[in-house]
Symmetry: C2
Subunit: 386 residues, 2 copies
């Protein structure tokens, strides 16, 4: 029985270990969504379905199916010492790697070419082009059973542009390699060795630490990373059997808040609250002096109010609140495809004329934040806050 | 047709101008809730129902019905100048009264005695006893068609205790007088005169101002009120035809945040966000200097982090996060009734032994905040933040 999406319901359901009626119901409700563009054999999971993460992607092949598992949600330590003790005591030691501030991408082979899947399971045309240039294709031929999980980082980044890493354009930092379908990860050092063999860029390795020493070491690492507004670390069981934990710097946290409050009406309350709570627990655990606490309070208050006031001023001056980002591509065609992609996702964008830089094109993109612009405008016109 | 709650559905529905089936459906769904205690003839509106505010109370009398309308929601000015212009230009002038920081109570006569209804429409035994001692009963005999709306303020306050008003115990400040059933308010000066005639305490009157002068005057008032951490003002159409607007001080706003972040897991995200946004708009409208803005940022950050860190420290020391409040009653019986009332509402309380003060009893009440205590404890034990 073949569905209107061109998928054999019975076989796909069997592969996913779901009753066929359940699978067709999920297609019907658009919990599993058929990809819209040229990648006609992809189906993305819009939410968690019996053990399969949101953002997982089902690939229909001539000879069967593949499942590219989503990014596992990494839980956060609010206080480091007890969290490491409680969660890693079985492991004896932990490996600490950097958590970078960019956007998550999975790279896999699809009909002979690489594709880059975003966290939600879309094929991003820009990330796909970049991945094709950045990654050694041999890996995918020689390891067809594996998927690369990593972070796209740098200033030529249409989602989370960052200058703090000293990168010229955009690079892809591998942080995980997993098997297709069951999502089983490689042990950390094995993954680093394999990625190294193919010349992949990888997230920074800080080292392996005994459980007893880990908290003190990580605290030092976090203080150092904070100085350059880096985001933080991920703490991993070397075998990747126990779940990893993330822990972040106050400075990176505040940078996120600054960005969010520029667009306060969009990324408002749910974004803000956990970030603020983290600051309280870190200050407590670090047993900060009166002066250090005062500095942290000021930093928090400034991260919230300054960008917001800047946005209000811009609207007062009849500007629209927006963000300038850039992409850099080799193939001009990617520009149009990326624009269609963003428009399809409902992002309000203005693309500049491509500018030639070496053998590439640099395109500036203005992303308008209409919701915060409108809300601010209405308040400045005397609209009341209900 | 009489319902199991002892109400004549047909007649009550007719009084409320609802179809009888709708009315019995609302009773069924507990949108209209029969009062549980000795006030058997009261029905409270748990949410808005076709033009009748949440918290409104239907009173069944021998000879018919009365409706005590809920507190109308007062919208907030985020920026003063355009809000006054936009909302009061028809009025020509506005009257400014103080908005006090306490809890809202409506007082009406019920079967020959006064009762005090909270914002949600419960009969609070403590507020009821206080109202009976604080208010001249003649008013209710001579004006059976009117309801008194006001704020219970002072340190002997089990909900929002405040020392900032220089009160010894608790007082009731009238801010509105409205007709039963249609909820029509008296014009401001007429209400003040009437309340004055019966010796009622009233909220402070700052004056009547032309629309053109009002913003400047109110800004000055707000700066003054801020110095003593008072809450703010309500700006009213003298005739009470246009809707009133509230506008508040940064200092009072920060005091609210300090209180909220002591119990961060309860009053967290929805409470925090609008309070933070107000700070941004006020700083913008006041065109603050770099130094003023920095002070505001520090104040905001401290209001958030300091109380939270204090709570974490308490839990670390095996204390439960709680709040000490007091009540002061003339009748010992009120103590037990108030305890039952709080327990019925699900508040976790420990009452001290009553202490004789003059002809009254002072009772200290410890209100435990179990949710924030538990959340904090679990984090300190290494539970991860999902």
């Amino acid at each position: 029985m073949t569905d209107k999406n061109g998928i054999d319901i019975e076989k796909a359901a069997e592969f996913l270990d779901l009753p066929p009626s359940r699978f067709s119901g999920l297609l019907e409700k658009r919990t599993i969504i058929h990809n819209w563009d040229e990648y006609q054999n992809l189906f993305r999971f819009d939410s968690h379905v019996s053990g399969i993460e949101e953002g997982s992607v089902l690939i229909v092949k001539d000879d069967g199916f593949e499942l590219i598992r989503g990014f596992p949600k990494i839980k956060r330590a609010m206080t480091l010492v007890p969290s490491i003790e409680r969660n890693f005591s079985e492991a004896g030691s932990v490996i600490v790697e950097e958590k970078m501030n960019g956007y998550n991408v999975r790279v896999t082979e699809y009909m002979g070419e690489l594709i880059a899947l975003t966290r939600s399971g879309h094929v991003c045309p820009y990330s796909t082009e970049r991945a094709r240039h950045l990654l050694n294709h041999d890996f995918f031929e020689q390891h067809p059973e594996l998927v690369i999980y990593g972070e796209m980082v740098g200033p030529d980044n249409p989602y989370v542009p960052k200058d703090i890493y000293g990168l010229e354009s955009l690079d892809f930092f591998v942080f995980d390699i997993r098997h297709k379908t069951d999502g089983k990860p490689l042990p950390v050092m094995k993954r680093r060795e394999l990625a190294g063999n193919y010349g992949f860029t990888q997230v920074k390795l800080f080292g392996e630490f005994d459980i007893q020493q880990a908290s003190a070491e990580i605290t030092e690492i976090i203080r150092e990373l904070g100085k350059t507004e880096h985001e933080g670390v991920v703490i991993k069981d070397p075998e990747m059997v126990l779940q990893p934990i993330k822990y972040t710097c106050s400075e990176g946290n505040n940078a996120d808040l600054r960005h969010a409050f520029r667009f306060y009406n969009d990324s408002g309350r749910d974004y803000m609250f956990p970030r603020v709570v983290r600051e309280g627990f870190q200050s407590f655990e670090w047993n900060e002096s009166e002066e250090e606490l005062k500095q942290r309070c000021l930093r928090l208050g400034e991260s919230i109010l300054r960008p917001m006031i800047q946005s209000i001023r811009e609207v007062e001056n009849n500007e629209r609140i927006s963000e300038d980002v850039r992409i850099r591509v080799k193939d001009r065609d990617t520009i149009d495809r990326f624009r269609s992609y963003l428009e399809r996702l409902g992002v309000d964008v203005v693309f500049s004329e491509p500018e030639r830089v070496g053998d590439e094109y640099l395109v500036r993109i203005n992303k308008v934040n209409q919701s915060t612009t409108d809300k601010t405008k209405s308040i400045l016109e005397g609209q009341l806050w209900s």
